[in-house]
């Protein structure tokens, strides 16, 4: 998108922001040419946006399986490698297996969900980004690629739909 500039339209509330998205659609922008930045999570359906994809669930599931395997190793692998008879007690007991496997599975699940959130969101990232502090004060920002030469038309249309301001988005150090 070298022949476009990135604009940031700031809205006071959800209603005008959803109208702003409609305006951008009418002006020919597709959903993947815009992004919403907000101070609270807003369902995609409310803003008329397609459902976003996330890999966090899959990563967490993978982590849970790895955790389960680690639990199995701890409870059954160790006595297999180093069998130690303690008063005739079973070397490979099933009930204890449930406890260790459960804890390790849950640790794997939640640890991976945590890391998955970072990986999928690209955290940590300390490079300059398009952002204004008003967003964490409750505003909703529409970040979009505006074809060059059409900046005034886009700005006017968005201001009419209720935008508080439409400014060229500058990448700043957060």
């Amino acid at each position: 998108m070298s022949d476009s500039t990135i604009l940031l339209a700031i809205f006071e509330d959800i209603e005008p922001a959803s109208k702003g998205i409609d305006v951008l659609h009418k002006l020919g922008l597709s959903d993947d040419q815009m992004n919403i930045i907000s101070g609270i999570p807003v369902k995609e359906a409310i803003l008329g946006r397609p459902d976003g994809r996330t890999h966090v669930g899959r990563i967490a599931f993978g982590g849970a399986i790895l955790g389960l395997l680690f639990g199995l190793f701890l409870i059954y692998g160790i006595p297999f490698l180093f069998p130690l008879d303690a008063g005739g007690q079973p070397i490979y007991p099933v009930p204890q297996g449930f406890i260790i496997c459960f804890e390790m599975t849950m640790l794997g699940l939640m640890g991976s969900a945590f890391l998955g959130m970072f990986v999928d969101s690209g955290f940590p990232s300390y490079t300059p980004k398009e952002y204004v502090p008003e967003i964490s004060a409750g505003r909703i920002a529409l970040l979009f690629h505006c074809p060059s030469g059409k900046q005034k038309g886009f700005t006017d249309a968005l201001m009419k739909s209720g935008a508080q301001s439409v400014i060229p988005a500058e990448a700043n150090q957060l």
Binding site: I14, N35, I36, I37, S38, G39, I40, P41, V42, K43, E44, I46, R49, G52, R53, T54, V56, G57, A60, L74, I75, I78, F82, L84, A86, Q89, P93, Q96, I99, I100, F102, E103, M104, M106, L107, L109, M110, G111, A113, F114, G116, M117, F118, D120, S121, G122, F123, P124, S125, Y126, T127, K129, Y131, P133, I135, S136, A137, G138, L143, L174
Partner: protein
């Protein structure tokens, strides 16, 4: 025959409640709420520093120095001796793990059930989980004596290629508590991210750098929110069974032993409900302290929140009484000689008064106070009730551990446990808990502002008939 509704004798017309009494119906602009929360973090008076200094002094003397003495002289300087090898250290472990259950219960269970009044105080409760588990961990290390050998618990073989025995309840404990500590810390951090970003946007100097590093570059894009909400949902559902497992496994440390007073099949749920009992009560104390000592907190933490906590406390108190009766009745009915001796000792022995204090604190006080709405909504009263319940729950663990260990099947070993150095270490862990909380209150936003705003956006009043009824829409 027709039924006609008549007003009750002595009834009065109820005044319509002002909806602005509820945080969700008394919205402020987000910017203003941000300022209020940051102001509360930045305001430190001489009272704050005096308290911080006092707590630091207590931690240095009662925790650091006393632990140094313990390490240098060995466990002989404590009251742990035959037959009571598990004294106050283990009482503290169980107590602090119990306290830690409040955070998960309030944050996860109430989040899953979409209880809206949870919003402003989830973080305050989650912090209790993490800091409570720190005290539990410290108490375990104190009890170990030779703390420098604690790495023997890690799943690595020692010089004789012997691995830790995962068939032992103590190893289950190690795995469960660590899983809970790691997961609850991550669960504390996830919803904190947007608030750290908010603090980053409004800070300067070292705070700016601190929040910038911790907020990891969070902006609030659609993708970031999607990932964050998905991860939070996974945590909210997954951490609940872990919470239940932790205290159940702690109870198995006792129940797996065939000793009088301990060998009980009901110990798992009984311990879990006891943990919730002390945890709920502790949240009420902490909320009262936050509300009365931190600037602007009266807007966020209101009588309605104490009311919610009190209702939960009352319910949990009844459940605790039910499980206690279960645990009491079966050995009494069974008529085993040693169980009978232990019950007699607990109720009529030289420290039998503790048993009555326990029942008074855990049952009589909550049942006689928490049924009344006006009292439930009085913060100072709730803090006092919370304190009394926690005293009762600490005594309950004392009755279960050192008192039960006093009576065994070898009467020639019977001896009453008298705590010594561990009293100071106990005071030290309490001071350390409050010190950590005090420091955290000035470093991280104790109120999840984005969650409060999200709640306020989704609440509205709808007129049905003659009344205005609160309705909630799901916007997230």
């Amino acid at each position: 025959m027709s039924a006609i509704a008549k007003p009750l004798i002595g009834s009065h017309t109820t005044e319509e409640e002002d909806p602005r009494e509820h945080l969700m119906h008394d919205p402020l602009p987000r910017g203003e709420m941000n300022t209020m929360v940051l102001e509360s973090m930045h305001t430190t008076t001489w009272k704050y520093w005096s308290l911080a200094g006092f707590l630091t002094f207590i931690v240095l003397t009662c925790l650091v120095y006393a632990w140094y003495l313990l390490i240098m002289n060995g466990l002989g300087v404590t009251g742990d001796n035959r037959p009571v090898y598990w004294g106050i250290f283990l009482v503290n472990v169980v107590f602090w793990i119990g306290i830690s259950h409040a955070g998960t219960f309030i944050s996860a269970i109430l989040r899953v059930l979409k209880v809206e009044s949870r919003r402003p105080f989830t973080r305050a409760a989650e912090l209790m989980t993490t800091f409570g588990l720190v005290q539990a961990g410290l108490s375990v290390f104190m009890h170990m004596g030779r703390v420098w050998l604690s790495y023997w618990l890690l799943p690595i073989p020692n010089e004789r290629t012997i691995w830790p025995d995962f068939h032992s309840p103590l190893m289950w404990d190690f795995m469960a508590i660590n899983t809970y500590l790691i997961c609850s810390t991550m669960y504390l951090f996830l919803p904190l991210l947007p608030d750290l970003a908010m603090a980053r946007d409004r800070s300067t100097g070292w705070r700016k750098t601190f929040y910038k590093i911790l907020s990891l570059g969070f902006r609030g894009t659609e993708g970031e929110w999607k990932n964050l909400k998905t991860a939070m949902n996974i945590f909210a559902f997954a951490i609940i069974p872990v919470m239940f497992s932790v205290h159940t496994i702690v109870s198995w440390d006792f129940a797996m032993a065939t000793r009088p007073g301990w060998s009980s099949t009901v110990f798992g749920p009984y311990f879990v409900i006891g943990a919730l009992h002390s945890g709920m009560a502790a949240v009420a104390i902490v909320l009262f302290m936050i509300r009365s000592t931190m600037k602007n907190m009266k807007y966020f933490i209101r009588p309605e929140h104490f009311d919610t906590l009190a209702k939960l406390s009352l319910m949990v108190s009844m459940a605790w009484a039910y499980f206690y009766f279960n645990d009491y009745l079966v050995p009494w009915y069974g008529g085993d000689k040693w169980e009978k001796i232990l019950q007699d000792f607990t109720q009529r022995g030289p420290i039998g008064w503790l048993w009555y204090v326990m029942l008074f604190c855990n049952i009589v006080v909550p049942w006689s106070i928490l049924w009344r709405k006006k009292w439930r909504q009085t913060p100072w009263l709730m803090a006092i009730v919370g304190l009394i319940i926690n005293i009762g729950m600490w005594i309950e663990r004392y009755v279960i551990i050192p008192e039960a260990l006093t009576i065994n099947r070898m009467p020639f070993t019977w001896e009453i446990y008298v705590p010594k150095l561990e009293i100071f270490l106990t005071i030290g862990t309490f001071a350390f808990f409050f010190l950590l909380y005090l420091l955290a209150s000035r470093l991280i936003p104790l109120i999840p502002v984005w969650e409060v705003q999200e709640g306020q956006e989704s609440h509205m009043l709808r007129k049905i008939g003659k009344a205005k009824i609160s309705t909630v829409s799901e916007i997230d």
